[in-house]
């Protein structure tokens, strides 16, 4: 069950407009900090003309060296592709491109722009600050999945833990993970340092969890003499083949069926490397 927060208690009382509250609260929060606020990879600052947004790596860079935008809806184009031109299915990935500045006139423009850069980030930030953000744990989320995603219901607790370490930590997603495996099983991955809360496993995570569940299933029956699964061998071969050419080209961010996917490799670091080097402590994916 989703917890019922005050704005959902409804009834005949006048409706509390959480989204409008969040818009105003965010603008006020930005306004309180003359040097600007950091949100994801963006620095937001109030100016005499309105609000200015830019990549944190571009603070102090003059306009002549940036593409200057004036329409808050242009934030969608800014957020769409990485600097290398790759599609960004997850807006909280730490791969927002640099080289732009976006100036908007008012609080509404700021809300529109922020919702393209970090969709629903502002309203979740606001609810979290007020202790009102509804959290949906993994098992609740999995319980409502259907079709090709129904199998994520069978993912083990250990599988959820490793999937969260591989898929959600700051190296690959800047949201602060707030959900647990279930109400009695805390999630063990690092929640992250950022301002944007993550109240529920996202669609990328569910897709990754599905892939990890497939790995779990093969583990039981398909291990070879040294304990490697077919997909582990597939990944190792793909890695060796790629490295032998002198450059490892990664699969797309959410292409989890491909061996050379970063999150898939992070999962292998947690689960395969300890098998290959049994004498060493398992390293976290962020090390090295």
């Amino acid at each position: 069950m989703r917890a019922t927060s005050p704005e959902r208690s409804g009834g005949e009382a006048p409706r509390r407009n959480t989204a409008a509250e969040a818009r105003a609260a965010f603008a006020a929060w930005v306004g309180e900090a003359p040097e600007g606020r950091s949100f994801g990879q963006v620095i937001v600052r109030q100016t005499p003309e309105g609000y200015e947004l830019r990549h944190a790596a571009n603070v102090g860079v003059p306009d002549e060296e940036l593409v200057v935008h004036g329409d808050p809806r242009e934030a969608r184009e800014i957020a769409k592709l990485t600097e290398e031109g790759e599609y960004r299915p997850l807006k909280s990935s730490p791969n927002l491109r640099r080289g732009w500045v976006l100036r908007v006139e008012d609080e509404r423009g700021l809300y529109v722009a922020m919702n393209y850069l970090y969709p629903s980030g502002v309203v979740h930030w606001h609810l979290y600050r007020n202790g009102e953000l509804e959290i949906t744990n993994y098992r609740e989320n999995a319980a409502r999945q259907s079709g090709i995603y129904k199998r994520v219901q069978r993912l083990s607790d250990e599988g959820v833990q490793n999937a969260a370490r591989a898929c959600c930590e700051d190296a690959v997603c800047l949201k602060k993970t707030l959900w647990d495996v279930d109400e009695n099983t805390p999630r063990l991955s690092e929640p992250g340092e950022g301002e944007i809360p993550c109240p529920e496993p996202c669609s990328i995570f569910v897709s990754f969890a599905r892939r990890v569940r497939l790995f779990e299933r093969e583990n039981k029956r398909d291990l070879d003499a040294i304990g490697l699964s077919p997909s582990e061998k597939e990944d190792l071969s793909a890695l060796v083949d790629a490295a032998a050419t002198g450059s490892v080209e990664f699969a797309r961010e959410a292409e989890f069926e491909e061996p050379l996917n970063e999150r898939r490799m992070r999962y292998r670091k947690l689960t395969l490397v300890p098998k290959l080097r049994p004498d060493e402590d398992a390293a976290t994916p962020d090390e090295g």
């Binding site: 959902r8 959480t18 989204a19 409008a20 599609y87 919702n115 669609s203």
Partner: protein
């Protein structure tokens, strides 16, 4: 305040899937100024998710239009579940959320398909003889509604008598599109994918399977004109607004039914 939420499937892998939803939303903002205070996009596989879009919206009067072709798994199961809808009209937290049907079954859809075909043929020479319109659906053996919507539109267009022939073919169910295109007795074949967005099928598998060389492919016996998916046509924005308007009478209807 009034909001329109357009729901798209979206993709983890490419930007094509959500593009029509963004484009139609932009057209609605421009062409229907004042009708909606907010026009918001949301997706199954992209952000904002259906799960969280209602958190972002300020309006109390909300209409949800699925940018999907057919009635089926997504429109009947996934979208209502993720948005927490009770049915055609949901009252929650002082809000009214109306849920419209998919675009493909709407009576305005044949007009968009015909516009797409006209746009395709504009400025291009046709051979003397008959011209057939062939509607291409994805289809699936798992759900008869998926193909049904393509037959529905073919029938509605056939009734208008604009084309000598109106045929239907599919990727994943019978009749296979290649056989339909080969077998159709017309000198000109206008092939329109009844899809929402460009993607792997429209860009790669379809042209490859049918041996198409672009918008116009000359064969010995016929010329094949291959159009963009109907869902990317700008008129779909009008269709979305019509779908949204249509839901407004529902509460009155429901009230009448009860009394």
């Amino acid at each position: 305040m009034k909001a329109l939420i357009i729901v798209g499937h979206g993709s983890h892998l490419n930007e094509d899937s959500s593009l029509p939803v963004y484009e139609h939303a932009a057209l609605v903002r421009d062409h229907y100024t004042g009708e909606f205070d907010e026009v918001v996009e949301c997706f199954w596989k992209e952000e904002p998710s259906m799960r969280h879009v209602l958190d972002m919206v300020e309006s109390e009067n909300i209409t949800v239009v699925p940018a999907f072709i057919s009635e089926g798994y997504f429109t009947q199961q996934v979208i209502p579940r993720e948005l927490g809808l009770d049915g055609p009209v949901t009252h929650r937290d002082g809000r009214t959320i109306r849920y419209a049907g998919p675009l493909g079954t709407f009576e305005g859809m044949p007009d968009v398909i015909l516009e797409r075909a006209d746009d395709l043929l504009k400025g291009k020479g046709t051979r003397p003889g008959r011209t057939a319109l062939v509607l291409l659906g994805h289809g699936t053996d798992l759900n008869k509604n998926s193909g049904g919507v393509v037959y529905l539109n073919a029938e509605r267009i056939r009734e208008r008598g604009v084309y000598d022939l109106v045929e239907v073919g599919f990727l994943d169910q019978d009749p296979p599109i290649a056989e339909v295109v080969e077998g159709v007795e017309a000198e000109n074949v206008v092939l329109i994918p009844v899809f929402i967005a460009e993607g792997w099928h429209t860009r790669e598998t379809i042209p490859e399977d049918l041996g198409l060389t672009g918008e116009v492919t000359e064969r010995a016996d016929k010329t094949i004109f291959y159009g963009a998916p109907v869902g990317t046509h700008p008129s779909v924005a009008d269709l979305i607004v019509s779908r949204a308007r249509e839901t407004e009478g529902r509460e009155a209807e429901l009230a009448r039914d009860v009394s």
